[in-house]
Every structure is written in structure tokens, then in C-alpha cells.
């Protein structure tokens, strides 16, 4: 059985305000400045030190989730490379690197009503002045934890743990019933 099975994550149907995002390679990186420096070289993106900010280069991104915690996101096809390159770069440096590629499902809430939709479950101030493009944070959507990352004025990337995806999308869809068809 040499053939790799296909990845199947909880389905995200495309709608005017919702777009599924492709499967990704994800690592949870814990550690200090030394670990960040090591990752910067191997990953090609310097993990930000400003709170709740994401940095990207090409299709790779590093998201600040805590003073010693970053989420690294890369295309699925980079998985094999990173599985070798990251541990090699971090050898000897105090850190924790854990593959969480399959833990999460990503989708995008977008369009002129994106902020309005998300305000129906997220208690944060989502005005672009308070939550600018490039800001990311763990927060809640009603009763589910989500990662929220504003990628454009009218676009938010959301990542949920896979078993919460259905809940978050169901509630967003209920709210979206009010939107003009």
C-alpha cells in the first residue's frame, strides 16, 4: 500500500460569505527568542514578537498566539520538507515543535458582511481600527474556541479544531439567513 490516502476534513461548503481553505501544514511552536531565530531561517518567515500579529512570506505564515507561542502555517505540499527542516534548525534550542496539521480546519469568512457575521459570536471589537489587517488571536465564537486572523479589510481566516467546524459554520449560516440573497 504505497498510495497515500486522501485527506478528508470536515466539509466546508462554499457560500457568498464563506470559502473553504485548502488543507495545510501546521506546527505549534513554543519557545523563546532563540527558537524564533532558528525558525525564521528554516521557515522563511520571522515569527512576530508583536502580540496578536501574523507575518507572511509567500504562502507561509507565522502567527503570534502568546509570548512563547506561534502557529506556523504552510501549504500542505511543504509538509515533508518542514518535517525535516524545522527540527533540524531547532536542534539544541529549548523549544517544543508539535505537528498540528490535522487538528484544525481553516475557512474564510468574507465579503461586506464578514464583520457583522462574526460579531454574532465573537465578543471582540472587530472594527478594522481595533482589529486591523494582520491581527490574529484565539477567541471564541459562541461556545467554540476559534483562531481569528484578519487577512484583508473584508476577509477573516478562521481555524477551528476539526470537531467544532460544523458548529461554527452552522451558527454562521443561521446568522447569514438575514443577509440579502
Amino acid at each position: 500500500m504505497a498510495d497515500m490516502l486522501k485527506r478528508t476534513s470536515p466539509p466546508v461548503a462554499s457560500r457568498p460569505w464563506l470559502a473553504p481553505l485548502p488543507a495545510a501544514t501546521r506546527y505549534s511552536l513554543r519557545g523563546g527568542a532563540e527558537a524564533r531565530a532558528a525558525v525564521a531561517a528554516a521557515f522563511g518567515v520571522e515569527p512576530p514578537t508583536q502580540a496578536c500579529r501574523a507575518a507572511s512570506r509567500g504562502a507561509r505564515s507565522a502567527l503570534w498566539l502568546g509570548p512563547d507561542e506561534h502557529l506556523l502555517i504552510a501549504p500542505e505540499s511543504d509538509g515533508a520538507t518542514l518535517a525535516t527542516a524545522l527540527p533540524a534548525a531547532l536542534a539544541g534550542v529549548p523549544h517544543s515543535l508539535v505537528d498540528v496539521s490535522h487538528r484544525q480546519v481553516a475557512f474564510e469568512v468574507r465579503g461586506p458582511h464578514a464583520e457583522w457575521l462574526l460579531a454574532h459570536g465573537c465578543p471582540l471589537d472587530l472594527d478594522v481600527a481595533a482589529f486591523p489587517v494582520g491581527m490574529c488571536t484565539r477567541t471564541v465564537f459562541v461556545k467554540a474556541e476559534v483562531l481569528l486572523w484578519r487577512t484583508a479589510d473584508d476577509r477573516f481566516r478562521i481555524e477551528t479544531w476539526r470537531s467544532f467546524t460544523d458548529y461554527v459554520i452552522t451558527l454562521l449560516a443561521e446568522t447569514a439567513l438575514e443577509l440579502p440573497a
Binding site: M1, S9, H102, R162
Partner: protein, 999 residues
Amino acid sequence: MTEFRTERGGRVDRSRVLRFTFDGRAYTGFAGDTLASALLANGVQLLGRSFKYHRPRGLLAAGSEEPNALVTVIRDAARRTPNVRATTVELYDGLVAESQNRWPSLSFDLGAINNLLSPVLPAGFYNKTFMWPRSAWFALYEPRIRAAAGLGVAPTLPDPDRYAQRYAHCEVLVVGAGPAGLAAATAAAATGARVILCDEQAELGGALLAEPDTEIDGRPAGDWLAATVAALRANPRVTLLARTTAFGYFPHNNVGLVERLTDHLESPPAALPRERLWQVRAREVVLATGAIERPLPFPGNDRPGVMLAGAARTYLHRFGVRVGRRAVVVAGCDAAFQAAVELSRAGVAIAVIADVRAPGQVAGPGEQAARAAGLAVETNATVLGTRGRLRVSQVLLGRVGPDGAVTPGASHACDVVLMSGGYTPSVHLHSQSRGKLAYDDALGAFVPAAPAERTRSAGMARGVAGLAAGLDDGAAAGAAAAGAHAATHRHSSRGLDGGLAGRPGAPPQPAALVPPAKAFVDFQNDVTTRDLALARREGFESIEHIKRYTTTGMATDQGKTSGLNALAIVASESERRVPEVGLTTFRMPFTPVTFGSLAGVARGDAFDPVRRTPSHAWAAARGAVFEDVGLWKRARYFPVNGEDMHAAVNRECLAVRRGVGMFDASTLGKIEVVGKDAATFLNRLYINNWSNLGVQRSRYGILLRDDGFVYDDGVIARLAEDRFHVTTTTGGAARVFAMMEDFLQTEWTDLSVWITSTTEQWAVVAVQGPRARDVLARLVTDVDLSAAALPHMAVARGRIAGVPMLLFRVSFSGELGFEVNVPADYGAEVWAAIHEAGREFGITPYGTEAMHVLRAEKGYIIVGQDTDGTMTPDDAAVAWAIGKQKPDFVGKRSLERPTMKHPQRKQLVGLETLDPRIVLEEGAQIVATRDQRPPMKMIGHVTSSYHSAVLGRSIALGVVAGGRARSGETLYVPMPGGDIPVKVVSPVFYDREGARLNG
């Protein structure tokens, strides 16, 4: 067109006639009417029966403070909304409303016998009379009193409407869109701040909606209002919310609003939720909530037709409705004169204006205006009573002499009585925010004092009367809230010049002159001046006690019209000043809030997240029966050919014991512990020793709390020197993770170690049974599955069906077992691949029920089922796991306490019924001797109990005081059918040597 509707004027749309029914009778009204104004326009004054005495009641007010006119609005069988105020129900075509608390009809109500009995139904009557026997209160008295004294009936069908909830943030939240609120919002918006302006009414404008003759800055108030609202609406930084009540002021300027979206619509679109709950977080709040007019507590003041003078103005100017033909006006403040003049001008005859203000109270320009209009004014007057059965027909006035003595005066025929005792600022939200209140003697009411939050009140809400002054006050408050300097513009106005001050309390009513009529203070709870006086005479001092004894202010209107009058009457009875009597607490909600809006989307399947594993669809397609475990759906059993649970579980268990079974263990919590101090960290947390665990080996771990009691358990594997894969129970995943993080951040900051949740990174398939290796051998590559290479509790990395795999040689069944961990997106296909590969070995999917039986046959505990938060490792028979050489671990010191080592602690044992067919009830108590009478001496209870197919008999686990020393003894489980004898045995029922495990 009825005689009560004016020919023109008002904000109703006379081109849109709406039909509606009240108590089955058909009427018409206009778009823009409320149910109350439309009924008044049809000459209907009788709208309800009172709560306790079933007295006929009409409209008192025109706004949300209305205490009497509670009705039920009916759309269909499921949409019956009881207890809504007719004054806040917007008319739509086809509206159906019914009155409440009457039988058989509103005009002939048998419950009104309570009114005849009222001399024996004084304050505290229920408390005094129905006290004994105590048990009868709940069983007999309370339900009957509730049925007789009532509100509307709740619908019995599920609510078909949807309710939304949202969060919102702004720099300035303005509550109330009257002149002060509009000015505040305009001033705040001018700074560029984000502003939310909400108002409970259908239209923004507040008092201006009923001021056709008033001018602001030289133009008609209506034009000013339209222009101001249009400017705010055009500002994208401003959110205008009509039909939205600010009902609660929560800490840190979190204000709860309810927006009503569809109640006013004839055919609500399915796309719209009925209501939306807003949780607004505001940097600053401006409360421009206005004031509520006070009734005057005179005898017979509750007859239909007796209403507030300001309400009559509102009905006239806003709705184009004359409230009657001939009015007696009872003036306790100057504004009542203005109402009289305007109603007179509109064609309502004014029989007399009785000025009930005490001598010395400053008279305003109202009296001169009334005299100039040719209206009769009687000063130094009081009201001694009213007459009329279902509607007022006559008022009996009295005269107050210079010495205070009252002599009877003239009677005046009328069909409406307009009263005004002055205006009470709406300080509810300010008080809810824990702001202080101060008594304003000139106004005769409490006004906001020092705030506790970043909030300020403006306009009449803080006693600033008069239109221009209110506009300026609002503008200043709005600018200050937005952090700007107050505008220099000063508003000018003509009309609406105040005269709102009064004296709370009752006008003179000497008992000798007053017939046995009641002067109502709290209309909704039927509390009279006499009830308050009685409470005082019976020794109640504190207003908090008087409130609870008389129930004044405790109805659904929370005393909006009655609170201050009650205080003033208590003050006068006890010869104190009003502020000395104190105030009862203002509580949320300001007006009633539906359960639906508070529940929001959290109902039905969306009440909580429903978590499903990658194999869920496969299991569901095969008819698996699921059970809830925490938020997870787990397959409980997989019935085939119509099996019941018993048959399915027996089959599934035997398949694992004799062949091979597969089980979805994905829901187990998983935490990756990484760092050079990972082993040290686990040593400090878990009772076991982790230092001597080799790489690629695993061990069963037990976690205690500080108190020494078992908190969680699970297999922990060492993947590398500095990397552990910890599993937890399904329900314990989140709390174990939180406990670890807590210790890392607060106690053990010296450790170089981090934790990451990987619960959902991995899908886990347990393959268990003598043929488990044969199945996996078909799919697994890169791993030697032989017992020598991969012994019990060994761990290996490899591939299965081509995808990366973390393989545990573990068993929760007592058979040869493996747990296949694959990245979760491969879970569904790997599950299917294993099932396919196992087909020739008869692989059997099994659920949680069979898993429970299999582990019980082996005496493996389930934390939370066989433990209950009060069991030590020794109690649970897992003390062997304690790392004896370790200096410390969480809970170790607690285990040293003598009581934790007491030989009579409840210990886990096996239980075998003497009759092997009997399966004990889980939770059943255990006693030492048979035929005990209650209270029995209970020495333990059954924690797990099943039929074991492989043993052909029932088995059970239980905890028994000193249980291990009782091995072989017979104990008893008392049940309704008699005592069931059980023998105490080892908790390991099957394969005691554990040979199968190592196969």
C-alpha cells in the same frame, strides 16, 4: 373614523387602515397606532382585570411603564405572547389580542369576588393565612392562589421563532432617543466617535413625537427631529436602533439591549430573527432615558378612564386620539394644566382642573394659561373618590382649608380623569450600574449622583426640565462622553417648558370623608395607600421589608409608576423625609425580556457544539446507536439484524474475546509534553515514576488533585527523551490540560517544558482481540508487530495504508490489542481500510457499551464511574502505580493523612450475585446484613454492573468499606423486590493472570 379620533394630526398614517380584534371583537386602527391608541380611538377603555382584586382596569399610561393593560397577542398556537403592555404593541393588519386574568369575560369576571372580599385581603394576607400546615403551601395554597391571581398563560408549544445575539463596541452608547439623547448622539458623532443610539419605541424622538406645536431653533420640532435623525442615519459611524430596549447595565459598561425585529410586522419574513440581543461594550454611556409621570394615589384612582395627563397628551398629539369626551384634570404639577389646555383645544370638555398641590408649592405658568383659556380651576383641592362601574363617571372633590382640614366639595360628571403628580427621572440604568442617587427636593424625585461606571445622565433623566435645557444638556453630555469640548451652540425652543416638578405621595384623604374606596399606589400588584400604612403600623420600618410584605414595586413593571409614591407615603406615615426611608434596588431587566432572546442560538442541536469523530459517518451509515460523552457523539453499539442493545453488546464482546474487534478511541484527550524537563514535569504531576520509562514505551498513569483524590488517568508514551504523548479521559481532556498549564505558569516556571493539545490531531482506532495482529499485518509497514519486537505497552512509528502512524501496543479489553493513531484527516479512510482488511477475520466494530463490559471483566476502572472524586489510588486499587521513590507529586502529602489510610475507607471490589442472572443496578447501595429497616447502614454502592457474555453471568464492580478484607463475604443489595445477596470477589473477573494481554 370614530368620534374619539381627531380629524387630523398625529403621526399615524390615516391612509392605511388596519384591522384587528380584541377579545374577539373586530376593530380598525391606523398604521402607526399602538394597540392601546387604537382601542382608545374605538372608545375601549376596559383592557384588563387587576392582579389580586380582579378590578376592572384601563390604560394608565402611553408607554412601557403601563401597569394595567397587560394583554396576550396571538399569531398562532405557538406564538402566543402573554403579559405584553398594550401601549407597546404596534398595530398590524390582522392583529389578534386578548385580555387576561378574567373569567368568563372582561366585563363580567367571577374573580372580582376578591374585590368584595378585599376587606379581609389586606397586605400580607397570604403570608398570614396560608402558613399552616407548612406542606400545604406548595401542594395546595400556592398553586391555587397563582391560578386565581394571575397574569397571562404561557404558550405550551415550542417557540418556532429564532433569536439572534451579537456583540457590539462603541465609544459612546446613548440610551434614549428623545431630545437629550438625539443631541448627545449628534454631539458625540460630530467627533468621529462610533455611536450607538437606542430607543425602546418604534420611532426615534421620545417626547418630541407628541409635540406638534413646539419649536426648536426656530423651526417646528418635527422638522428638527426628522433632520437630526436623517443626519445621524447618514453617518456610517452611527448605529440607530429603534424598538430596542436597554434592559441591563452589566459591569464595565457592558449594556444589554434587546432589539425587536418582527413583532410589529404583519407577516414576519422567515429570514429575520424575532429579536436580537446586543451586548454592547461602550467606552462611555449617556443615559437620556427621560422621566416617567407619577399617578396620584386618591380613592378610586384605578377606574378605567383614570389616566396620566401626559399620556392623554401623547394619545392626542402622537396618535390623534381623544381619550374621552369630558375630563376632570387632577393636577399635582404644572404640566397637567398644559395637558388640559391642549385637550380642551382638541375638543375634550374640561369639567374642572383640581389643583391638589399643597399651599406653598410653587405654581407655574400653567394655571394662568388654563384660566386664560377659560377653564375652571379649583385650587387647594383634593379628590375624595370616583364613581363608575366599568368606566369612571364622576369625581368627588374635596376642599383643603388653610388649617389642613378637608371639607367635601362638588361632584363632577366625566368619562375620563387626567392626573399628574409630577415626573420621576428614569434612573433605573444608572442605579443598575451601581451609581448613587440623590433626592432633589425641588423636583420631588431622585436624580443620579456619583456614577460607578463611565456613565453620565442627561436631560430629564437627571432632572433637567425644559426642551432647550434638555437639548443643551444632552449635547454637553454627548461631547464630553466622546472626549470633546462641549459645543458652544445653545438651543432655543418654544413650548415644552417643564413644569414637571411635583410632590410624591398621596393628596389629603381623611378617612372619615373617604368612602371605603382604595387609593392605588402599585396598580399592577394591587397595593393601596392603606396597605402601606398597615405595614407601617405592624412595625415594618425598612422599605425593603415593606416592599416584600406589601409586594409594592414587585410586579413585572417593577414599580415604574409607583415606587416614589410608595416611598413618600411610608415617609409621611413614619414622619421621615423621603431620602431617609431609602430606596429599594433597581434591578434588571428594565422591562421584561423574553427567554428566547437570552437563549439565542443555544437551543436544540446548537445548544452545545456536537463533536464527531472521523469515523462518525461510517458508523452512522451502519446504524450505530450513539451516546453523548461530554460534547462528543460516540458509537454506543452497532446493532445488526434488528438486535437490541443487550444482544449487540454480547456479540461485540464475544467477537473481541474470540476474534477481533475495532473501536473508535479518537475522543481520548491527547497532550504532547515536550522539553528537556518533560519527564520531571510528569514526575511532579502524576503519581507514577516516569524517569525510568524507556523511549518507545508507555505506562498507565494516574493523576491526583492536591487533595489526593483520583482526578484522571490514561496511558502515557515516551516518544523521545524530551517528548511524551499523554492521553487523558474523554471528559477530562480540557481540565487536565488546564491543570498542566496552571502548574507550568504559576508553580513550576523553572521547567523547560511546553504542552500542546493534540486531541484532534490524531484519529485513534483500537484493534483488539486474538486476531488483532493478523488484521494489522495486512496494512502496517515499517513496524515489526511480533510480540518480541512490540511487546505489551510498546510504541512504534510506522505507516498504515501508506499514511504515517503512531502505534501503541495497549489494551483496555484485556486481549492482545493495538491502538492505531493516524493524522485525523486520514481517520475515516484508515478506519475503513482496517475494517476491510479485517473482514476475513470477522472484524467486528464495537461501541462504548462493549468497551465498558470488556474493561469491567478485567477490573479496569473508569475515572468518574468507579471513582467519584473522593477516592485515593489505594481505594481504587491502583496504588501499585505510585512511584514509591519519588520525593513528591501532586496529592502525595494528602495521601499521608491518617484518614486517607483508614482501613475502613471504601475500596474497589468485585461483586458477584449469588444468582448469576441478576444484573445489579448501578448506584445501588450495599449493606452488611439482610432484612434491615430504614435507616439502613449503607457500607458501599455498586459502580459498574453488566452481563458478561464470555463468563455467562453478571458481574459488578463496587466500593465497600474495608472491602478488600471482606473478600468472600456475602453482602446484600436492598432493592424494592427484596435483598439481593452478593459475594465480594476480586475485581478481575476474566484472565486473572493476564496471559491474553501478552499474546
